[in-house]
């Protein structure tokens, strides 16, 4: 008789074994499929190309306990001067008492678990559609074990004036949280979302997050993702985005610190005349590791995508950027631009930048570029010689560098909030 070796994965999954979902057979079936997928998958190693520059050992070697929906004072996480609908997720559970929103005609806004019970049409049509069978372990993990998150569906031609602000909190030591969102903007609708990912009172906790975003014909969605991690916490997040004809999607990702942050952004542009903007700013300190993997898949003609990611890396921090743009054979007259720029503030900071273009159409305009450099000492001296302190000069230079990374944020209060945070980080 042989004893099967207990793998890291088994130990890791054991922490999740107590989860009970009590869902109808359709959703149960999806979870079972994902569990089967999980059986076939293993955690990536340095040999896995997709994870070449990011070792997940720190995440998977830790032992976790499931986080509970605690009550936390969220007043510190609100964005000043922002009039928004506020929803709060704590450790993967939606906490209604902490949320502050009013129902609006034409907008379905509720917890995912509630939406599953109600069996909303939009939910069944889209949920899990873009995340299954991707052969990606963290995605399969979330498919199988996600607890809760936000379900948003905006009805046809509905324009939502107030932005939606989701505060997604992980708290406690060695906590694992598996949150999950689905946002659907139906034909001709418009919505702006902010999601803040925050860690409170805890070390070595792990947030495995997935959002599915569907932008139907002629719809507009702006998703702003603020990752305000403490330097001892881990996060793997995946956004699966699906764009229909004439739609417009913008994602802005601002990452402030994190022991290990990995963002997988996958955008499928499956119809013509779409516009896609994906921008990011990441600031690393100490031994932070911040990794952005993006994919834009242009499948149909006459689409534009613009991508700008900028990194500022201090101390011994590491930044990873891998941006892939596919232009399929049918996707003629595609304009796809991609840019990644990094500043290393010390000799011990590192960046691995890999922009990639795969073009199968012949009438397209595409470009990509990557730069990594240091602050120009001559420029610093020049500014000093005019009476600006060295620190002030550094700030001016960094702000100038970072400026165009997040200029697509259309919510003024958020822009100010982020500018402020960047300033704080540079102190």
């Amino acid at each position: 008789m042989t004893t099967a070796e207990i793998t890291k994965k088994d130990t890791f999954l054991a922490a999740l074994s107590s989860l009970q979902f009590n869902e109808d057979s359709y959703f149960e079936g999806l979870r079972n499929n994902a569990q089967n997928e999980l059986n076939e998958l293993d955690f990536p190693t340095s040999k896995t190309e997709y994870w070449k520059y990011t070792r997940v050992g720190k995440i998977v070697n830790n032992t976790y306990t499931l986080g509970q929906p605690e009550k936390i004072d969220v007043s510190n996480f609100l964005i000043p001067n922002l009039d928004a609908q506020v929803l709060v997720i704590v450790n993967g559970h939606v906490v209604a008492d902490l949320s502050d929103f009013t129902s609006v005609d034409g907008v379905t806004l509720t917890s995912l678990s509630h939406a599953k019970k109600q069996n909303f049409e939009g939910l069944k049509k889209h949920f899990n559609q873009f995340t299954q069978d991707k052969k990606e372990i963290f995605l399969a993990l979330n498919n199988a074990f996600h607890t809760d998150g936000i379900y948003l569906e905006v009805a046809k031609n509905k324009i939502i004036e107030k932005p939606l602000h989701i505060i997604n909190i992980t708290t406690g030591n060695n906590t694992i949280s598996l949150s999950r969102n689905l946002f659907v903007a139906n034909v001709g609708s418009q919505v702006k979302i902010i999601e803040s990912f925050i860690n409170v009172n805890g070390e070595k906790n792990f947030n495995n997050h997935v959002s599915e975003l569907v932008i139907a014909e002629n719809a507009f969605m702006e998703y702003n993702k603020i990752q305000d991690k403490k330097e001892t916490n881990f996060s793997v997040a995946t956004e699966q985005v699906y764009q229909e004809a004439n739609s417009n999607f913008t994602i802005n990702t601002a990452t402030f610190n994190g022991a290990l942050v990995r963002n997988n952004l996958n955008i499928e542009v499956d119809a013509s005349n779409c516009e896609t903007n994906l921008n990011g700013l990441y600031l690393g300190k100490n031994k932070d590791h911040i990794d952005n993997h993006t994919v834009v898949d242009h499948k149909k003609p006459h689409c534009n995508s613009n991508e700008v990611y900028k990194g500022i890396l201090d101390d011994e921090s590491t930044g990873v950027f891998n941006g892939k743009v596919f232009v399929r054979q049918d996707a003629q007259i595609t304009n796809a631009f991609q840019q990644n720029n990094n500043i290393l503030l010390t000799d011990n900071a590192t960046v691995n930048s890999k922009p990639e273009l795969e073009i199968y159409a012949d009438d397209v305009k595409c470009s990509h570029g990557s730069t990594t450099g240091q602050i120009d000492e001559e420029a610093i001296f020049y500014l000093q010689s005019r009476g600006i302190s060295k620190k002030g000069a550094l700030k001016l230079m960094i702000n100038a560098f970072a400026k165009d990374a997040l200029e697509r944020i259309s919510i003024e209060a958020l822009q100010a909030y982020i500018d402020n945070k960047v300033e704080e980080e540079l102190e």
């Binding site: 020049y382 500014l383 010689s385």
Partner: protein
Amino acid sequence: MIKINNLHASIDGKEILKGINLEVKAGEVHAIMGPNGSGKSTLSSVLAGREEFEVTEGSVEFDGKDLLDLAPEDRAREGLFLAFQYPVEIPGVSNINFLKTAINEKRAYLNQEPVSAKEFLGMVKERSALVELDTKLANRSVNEGFSGGEKKRNEIFQMAMLTPKLAILDETDSGLDIDALRIVANGVNKLKSPNNATIVITHYQRLLDYIIPDFVHVLYDGKIVKSGSKDLALELEEKGYDWIKDELKV
């Protein structure tokens, strides 16, 4: 205003300044001339506080303070200004914003109120006109995409905005056509007052037709070897620097 006493400075162990003595009083214009490699730009760099240079001996007193003891930004706040020989391009940093920051940091240092938006805009308008600098340029990123002449005019514009006690113009004339030279010189002359002073560092006498110096010094091999009136510049122009070299050998 400034008293330089037996100033020695070296870079990477190589001595460039070998005992400079110079005193400049308020209201005066001094020209420092000299052949390439004589130490002209080193002198301006040391005074502005560039870290690569090590002062090995001597002292510099600026308005009663030990200049060498101050950080570069504090030297500027005390009223020292260097117009760079090669002004740096700083993409993304707006000329106007950085000047506003500079003025307010200086004001804070001197315990003064920050400049109001209205007052500042008035200053920009008036002082960019002084050097015929298009206000569009004033609003662009610092020196980015500027022509050589525009960069030098921008230096004088910055000088006009910061109203220094002592301005050091490091080869501000080199590479300028005669029109640009006239504009730059005109700007400097208009800023002249009995309370401030100027040190003009140049290789050529030409600039001194427009900015008339009270004293001319010749810098050679890290020392001031000859001083005189503005006629010395004309003599140099006529006889060349070899004349000085020959005279020294005797």
